[in-house]
């Protein structure tokens, strides 16, 4: 008898997945591929890297599925894994949080074009180029200029819709720090949008 996984809640899906049901894994992947990828893509701002990191996040999640604590939401858990991976990647690669219009020290138009994050890379398909341009809007540019911690809290709160408590759990920081990060991040965004 085939089970309709779409109507099953996350916690039960995790239980079924831990029993080795491939359909449960596929359903979890289907539910979270978009939000997880979206978060990572806005953090690293490179589609190929984002897909690699998202894939790694899912594989780590699936491998550790029997260690999942049902006390917390599955979404918090997978976002925590994705966030840790992304932060590790950004720190290893030392990706600068530069403007979509170029690095801060880029004065000439040529330097700005060279350092701009929306510049089409040699290995990027035309389709990817068009999609990267989606991140070139004013608000996306302003988010891209935020420091990593601020960017994560804004994305988790206002795009993924997590509560402050969930964000604290995902980022493993105190609730007060989440509020402070959000407050500062939004203040920076407001300032940058006013300047634009």
């Amino acid at each position: 008898m085939s089970l309709n996984y779409q109507s099953v809640e996350d916690a039960e899906l995790v239980t079924l997945a831990a029993q080795g049901r491939e359909g449960a894994y596929r359903e979890l992947l289907s539910r979270y591929q978009r939000p997880v990828f979206s978060l990572i893509y806005r953090m690293v701002r490179n589609r190929t890297v984002a897909e690699d990191l998202a894939q790694e996040a899912f594989i780590r999640t699936f491998n550790a599925i029997d260690t999942y604590n049902p006390k917390y939401k599955f979404s918090s858990w997978i976002f925590k894994i994705a966030n840790n991976l992304t932060i590790d990647h950004l720190r290893k690669r030392r990706v600068p949080t530069v403007s979509m219009h170029g690095a801060p020290d880029a004065v000439t138009p040529e330097a700005q074009a060279r350092t701009s994050l929306v510049v089409r890379s040699p290995g990027e398909s035309p389709e990817e180029y068009v999609e990267n341009r989606e991140l070139a809007g004013q608000i996306e540019a302003a988010i891209g200029e935020l420091r990593e911690e601020y960017r994560v809290v804004v994305l988790l709160r206002h795009i993924e819709g997590h509560t402050y408590d969930e964000i604290a759990r995902i980022m493993e920081i105190p609730l007060g720090t989440v509020k402070t990060y959000l407050h500062r991040a939004r203040a920076e965004l407001k300032l940058r949008l006013a300047e634009a």
Binding site: G20, E22, R26, S30, F37, S38, Q55, E131, H158, L189
Partner: protein, 314 residues
């Protein structure tokens, strides 16, 4: 400055000089005219009057401070108007409460953080009520709140970005590929031993398990063709053969032990230990320690492989 009249003899004292200076502003005293005449004739008193004049000038130039904003309204809100108070004590407490409420909720502008949390729906009910009470009367805070609401609304309109088509399939394929790569040899052996995984495996396993039965059946069929051989005779023959083999093995083992001298050495050691209980206890303790140490080392070094990646079956 000294205000003692006697110390100056017939000269003007400090009060008289200050009186003269006040008189210039319209405060005329009884001794003013005589004092003025003395001042005109006495250089010493004139010098002291000049010093006082300088003090008066400094005091006159002091800046006037303005009261804080809405000071007048606060004063008025604290006044108990006639007819409003039923009793003096009740009116006094109500006035204080009203002033306290007006200070905490209505007058203080909301901080940026408070406004953000209100716009984000993250403020507690109590704080939200207080904030709204202030917003009802403060256009400035209302404008700032609208700004935060616009920012949050803009953020929430950002789309969720999708990975390239086929992403889920690639993840599943990669995951299963990794699972195949990392299955431990022990797990593979256990799976093979427990259960054949293919039709060919089933055929092989069936053949192997049926061979002893087939061989036994063949021998039984052959023996049944010999007319002199009965079942009881066969059992007796097999029993004799087994007993002779066991007896020969025992004799050989006993002869080997006696010839090697091991039995003699073991007997000597046991005799020595029985004669010296302290040595026996020390030997037992040493042996136990050695065993426990060995078990601990084994426990720390034997890898219990965890099934890092599992095969999935729908």
């Amino acid at each position: 400055m000294n205000s003692d009249r006697s110390s100056y003899g017939g000269h003007l004292d400090d009060d008289a000089i200050q009186g003269l200076l006040d008189a210039a502003e319209g405060h005329v005293g009884a001794e003013t005219e005589s004092a003025r005449r003395h001042l005109a004739d006495c250089p010493g008193c004139r010098a002291r009057a000049d010093a006082w004049q300088e003090v008066f000038g400094e005091l006159g130039r002091l800046r006037r401070f303005a009261p804080p904003g809405r000071f007048a309204e606060r004063v008025l809100s604290g006044i108990d108007l006639p007819g409003e108070a039923a009793s003096p004590s009740r009116a006094w407490s109500w006035g204080r409460l009203r002033r306290w409420l007006s200070r905490t909720a209505a007058d203080a502008h909301l901080s940026g953080r408070r406004l953000q949390e209100l716009a984000d729906g993250a403020l507690s009910r109590k704080r939200a009520t207080l904030a709204k009470a202030h917003l009802a009367t403060c256009v400035d805070c209302e404008d700032r709140l609208a700004g935060w609401r616009r920012l949050i609304a803009t953020l929430e309109t950002l789309p969720s970005l999708a990975p390239a088509a086929g992403f889920a399939e690639r993840v599943m394929a990669r995951w299963q590929e990794m699972a195949e790569e990392t299955v431990s040899p022990g797990q593979a052996a256990r799976r093979w031993r427990l259960w054949p995984r293919s039709p060919r495996g089933w055929v092989l396993a069936g053949t192997l398990t049926s061979m002893p039965a087939a061989a036994f059946g063949a021998v039984a069929a052959f023996l049944s063709t010999v007319p002199q051989l009965t079942t009881a005779g066969l059992v007796t023959y097999l029993w004799w053969q087994a007993r002779d083999a066991l007896s020969a093995f025992g004799s050989t083992l006993l002869a080997a032990v006696v010839q090697s001298g091991a039995a003699f050495r073991a007997y000597s050691l046991a005799d020595y230990l029985i004669a010296s209980p302290a040595v026996a206890v020390a030997a037992a303790a040493g042996f136990t320690t050695l065993m426990l140490g060995s078990i601990w080392i084994l426990h720390r070094n034997i890898d219990f492989p965890r099934f890092a990646l599992r095969h999935v079956h729908s």
